[in-house]
């Protein structure tokens, strides 16, 4: 990317850190997000109750034994992220103010967690996020409004209309996806070289 050029909607993900002003903590991770949870539990633990939601789905390594050993908290394990997200929605319905939320995994997973929390009046800035495993993007087609997931290249084929979409950095927090624009609209058939840039 050109130096100095920046699209403000592009999220910046950092490392998870406990926020010790809280009444409770919820940590949600999937796949390689397990490593971020292990790093979190190497920090001084907060006094308030902690609940960890983890799904190993998509992990390159088996983090589960290490998590079971390290996580001195309520650890809930789910076979799929869909099951994890369903349990998360149930948890949110009875949670109280003062809950701090931490999530780690792919960008799609983190924004699914954030989206569920938004239904309970939580702003995305209050969900701490650590991206792990992959830079793969969800892409929103501005032409047919379809979402295409796990895009790792600069140009992707739209899952809805089949157009070749140029993947921009312009990010929608509501949809958890980047904007995709038809790349050869001016000169049909002239598609630049496709490269994997979000491995």
């Amino acid at each position: 990317m050109e130096r100095g050029y920046w699209i403000r909607s592009k999220p910046v993900y950092t490392a998870l850190l406990w926020n010790d002003k809280a009444t409770a903590h919820a940590v949600l991770a999937a796949g390689d997000g397990g490593l971020a949870v292990l790093k979190l539990f190497q920090q001084a633990l907060p006094e308030q109750p902690i609940t960890v939601f983890y799904s190993p789905a998509g992990a390159d390594k088996d983090y589960l034994p290490a998590l079971q050993a390290a996580v001195d908290a309520d650890l809930r394990v789910f076979a799929t992220t869909a099951e994890l997200l369903a349990a998360w929605a149930d948890y949110l319905a009875t949670a109280r103010m003062g809950l701090r939320i931490y999530t780690a995994g792919t960008e799609k997973f983190m924004w699914d967690v954030t989206d569920a929390a938004a239904d309970f009046g939580i702003l995305n800035q209050d969900v701490m996020k650590e991206l792990t495993g992959s830079l793969a993007r969800s892409v929103y087609c501005v032409h047919c409004k379809s979402l295409t997931h796990e895009v790792t290249s600069n140009i992707a084929t739209c899952s809805g209309c089949g157009r070749q979409l140029f993947v921009r950095d312009h990010f929608s927090r509501r949809m958890g996806a980047y904007m995709g624009l038809m790349v050869d609209a001016e000169n049909p058939g002239e598609v630049p070289q496709i490269e994997e840039i979000y491995p």
């Binding site: 009444t23 103010m97 003062g98 309970f120 009046g121 939580i122 702003l123």
Partner: protein
């Protein structure tokens, strides 16, 4: 500042020291629309000096025919609230500012927790109209010194008794902020208005319990504290102005004909911020607007409520 002219249509004493004014457009028209939590600034041309105080609108925002305000006679009034109590009669014409809202309800909140202390009930009176109209989920906790200080408590009982909890301090009833805040569902926004100690205790308890900053709303209009006289040196206009002990810097600037911007006049909004170029003493910050770092820097001051203990204060104005 664009002004409206209103006429006092009726005056009622609603509790000890609190007088309730109903205002109508002086020319018989409709008043500008506002949203719950808005305030107006009333100009009071007392002999020798002009007072301008902010008062929350407590009438229904749907009622364009009237504005209602309630004025608590401050025991240590510099003159504003005494002027409202003693000089303003039915039929008096007053200049007021257009309504401004620095205490608006959040549109994304799932629940609204309203915390009122004493005369701090006023902005909530209008917000409750909005919440009832929009079907918002809320609860009101209203503390007062004793029954005779409980302005509007009976009106609230009739209108929203299911949602209002009253605390009579003379009966030993106190709000437990810690327990109250811990019990709130996710997505709650808390709003506090009342005495400084109450508002500060509520805000610091919420922060300690991990409430995000944008879920915490508060409003206090401060009266400018009295102090010692000092001289303002204005570098651009090359004027020297004396600020009397019972006058704010902003009032002194206005009395000298300097066009200084202002809005809430209570240290809340930030509109009147001025740049400090130098002083031979120390700044006395009283506002809620500047950050601690800004206050410590000695470069900024809010002339509506803050002053200085010094011989001179030089401003970039």
């Amino acid at each position: 500042m664009s002004q409206l002219q209103v006429k006092v249509a009726s005056i009622q004493d609603v509790s000890a020291g609190v007088r309730h004014f109903t205002l109508v457009d002086a020319h018989g028209g409709e008043l500008p629309a506002f949203s719950g939590g808005s305030h107006i600034v009333v100009t009071m041309p007392a002999p020798g000096r002009t007072y301008r105080n902010a008062y929350s609108l407590l009438s229904s925002p749907e009622d364009r025919a009237h504005y209602e305000i309630a004025v608590h006679r401050q025991p240590q009034s510099r003159g504003g609230s005494i002027y409202m109590h003693e000089e303003v009669k039915v039929g008096s014409v007053l200049d007021i500012s257009y309504p401004v809202n620095l205490f608006a309800l959040s549109r994304v909140a799932k629940h609204h927790l309203l915390i009122a202390g004493g005369i701090g009930i006023t902005p909530f009176m209008a917000q409750i109209h909005d919440l009832e109209r929009l079907g918002g989920d809320y609860s009101l906790h209203y503390g007062f010194r004793s029954r005779e200080h409980a302005a509007f408590a009976d009106a609230l009982k009739g209108r929203v008794s299911q949602r209002a909890v009253c605390y009579d301090e003379s009966l030993g009833q106190r709000m437990d902020f810690d327990a109250l805040l811990r019990a709130q569902p996710l997505g709650t926004h808390v709003y506090a208005c009342g005495p400084q100690g109450m508002v500060e205790a509520l805000v610091s308890t919420a922060r300690a319990l991990g409430w995000p900053e944008h879920h915490i709303h508060s409003e206090q209009f401060l009266a400018p504290p009295v102090g010692e006289p000092f001289t303002l040196k204005l570098s651009k206009s090359e004027l020297e102005i004396t600020v009397q002990g019972d006058m704010s810097m902003l009032e002194a600037l206005e009395a000298a004909g300097v066009d200084a911007p202002s809005l809430c006049r209570g240290g809340a909004c930030g509109r009147c911020e001025l740049e400090v170029l130098g002083t031979d003493g120390e700044l006395q910050h009283h506002d809620h607007y500047l950050s601690d770092a800004d206050k410590a820097s000695g470069r900024k001051i809010m002339p509506c409520v803050s002053r200085a203990k010094c011989g001179y204060l030089e401003l970039n104005l």
